[in-house]
Symmetry: C2
Subunit: 406 residues, 2 copies
Amino acid sequence: MKVALMGHGVVGSGVAEILLEKKESLAEKAGSLLELVKILDLRDFPQLSYQELFTKDFSEIESDDSISIVVEAMGGLHPAYEYVKSCLEKGKSVVTSNKELVAEKGAELLAVAKEKNVNFFFEASVGGGIPVIRPMHLCLAANELKTVYGILNGTTNFILTKMIREQMSFEKALSIAQELGYAEKDPTADVEGIDACRKICILASIACKKHIYPKDVYAEGITKITAEDVAYASAAGYVVKLIGQAKLGKEQHQVMVTPALVPVDHQLSGVDDVFNAVLIEGDCTGDVMFYGKGAGKMPTASAVVADVVHAAKMPGTSLSLTWEDSTASVALPLTSCENSFYYRLQGSVKPETVEQLWGEVVWLTRKDQPANEVAFMTACMKEGEAVKAEKQLQDAVILSKIRYLD
Amino acid sequence: MKVALMGHGVVGSGVAEILLEKKESLAEKAGSLLELVKILDLRDFPQLSYQELFTKDFSEIESDDSISIVVEAMGGLHPAYEYVKSCLEKGKSVVTSNKELVAEKGAELLAVAKEKNVNFFFEASVGGGIPVIRPMHLCLAANELKTVYGILNGTTNFILTKMIREQMSFEKALSIAQELGYAEKDPTADVEGIDACRKICILASIACKKHIYPKDVYAEGITKITAEDVAYASAAGYVVKLIGQAKLGKEQHQVMVTPALVPVDHQLSGVDDVFNAVLIEGDCTGDVMFYGKGAGKMPTASAVVADVVHAAKMPGTSLSLTWEDSTASVALPLTSCENSFYYRLQGSVKPETVEQLWGEVVWLTRKDQPANEVAFMTACMKEGEAVKAEKQLQDAVILSKIRYLD
């Protein structure tokens, strides 16, 4: 079975290594030899032992009917989308680790795959090497899924872990993450929640079987989290995590990515450093959790290769999951979403005023708390109502607003 | 697609409920209607709305060629084994939650399934509703698996959690577990590690692709764990868990079930009460963990039904994993297994004597420690060497010996 690879970056080079080095054991598992015959990349790799496989011309893959499985590890939306679509239309199964592609074009590409009776697999797009998508799709098939909560971005989790354990500022923790190679020079996609948003969109789409687009989902990053917030949270028995949430409703679903205070006895609170975890509640199983390293060259590449093996096992079939496209958004508008909130205010604000605006709250304290600062946690309320309360607040400014999990 | 069910006990009745109540959503997922047409049980259920489905005669299932999927939820080895084998031979896919059956007869039944080009699925046999087997088999396919550690029995985990959190004796904790319905009147299979042993045998067989039989695997239960051991462990930063372990070697594999001290910062230490977890180390992914409720009617039944859906999706194929049978045991003999040990001794024993026998150790202390009691932790050593040291011990008796994880 001939395999082509598009993109020889971090993940792509890992895929090539595994396909070449584990040839025998993969052949046994796939039921046929997986032969890597072409690698598309615009760069030259003269030092590689397999440099004869490289091409700069996509048509060499597209038009080669003997290639039945194509791995897309280029990243980005274009030309990945056009290439993947073309491969599927030519009757090739496609495996990708590209979360942006799946989050933006999943419904369309899955429909093409179904039509052509081939597979479009993307296990590596969420949670790197952690099995999440296939277990959700296959093993939880008898469940009605109720909620999905995830720590979906290792970079931000590393930064938050540093901030919590070592009382570090966001800026300092980010610079350490960059030094260690966990954060990119431009860390925007990670720290602003864009990466996590794509992943929760993919998980939510699997859960509700309709495409949930990132543009319809509120995503907030961790750049505004301060050491003071971490201190209040810690004193109250919480840690701060960047949480992707999907609460499944009847017609519309609450999907968002925000920092959240997580109680220390919650399963997600112990997921530290660059680790990821996805906690799924089914009506039959209750909570199940999947945990591991959510990124990195070899974990992600191994998930891609496992998809290749699965596709190779059953040629001429469409085992992929599907979800429908939707013109009307199935994501609940932010103002109608329901959450519980932590606030930190500065100014001369009376407890009665706070409770008048937000209802009953729990007051928090921290070491070295300034006299003109208060912090509290509200009950669960609509996002719109929380904003309404904020607008009526006088004589105080809101320093922080963070959601929390019960 | 016609489905028959054998056994209408706790799990079987859950399977019937899900198949009947979620007909539409399951049909959508399976691509065809899953029609429950026969239920085999020797008991009468006159109060049930679907009592017309019941039969006491296995041949009504066996000889009905229109039935393509059979669920076995009878438990026990006989006649489950004969019935399952006969169904597979007749070209029916079989789904089971019966860990004893899979642990004792897995290799043989998988070979029959492969030969007849049907499926033999048993996701529910390990971890109840937690996806473990299919993710291991499909999603980690590009990994060479190095170790599998699991908390595989909810009953013993509940008992140990009580003993740790409430400083309770084993007997008291067991009686509470029995009151709550978590432990059976005869708790032997759970508390003696027999149930966990079957499960680690299944996981180890998947990992090494050879059948590992329970008879070749050392299994020790939790009946000898005392509140004193829990106290020493706790003071040293450990909790006591019943751990199934499989360390994959080249030819032979270290597979066993024993109580073990687990460091509090280890991922398995926070798995409490009736929860289960399986931690798998692959050469590419590093550690991945699967967590959830490992037993119970609906979690387990939902895993069975998901297997039915998967089997229904691809009729006339054999998607099941396989492992080879082996006449020579591939389980490493106990004396050659390597572990680290905690010992508690009573008597007049000098520190020098202990270190002479066991090598360098770490001494432990606890509150109210009697003058004639010592406890220590050894380095990692062969099981046989530890026993040799024990035999040379004079003037002291061994009160406890528990393995520990680093």
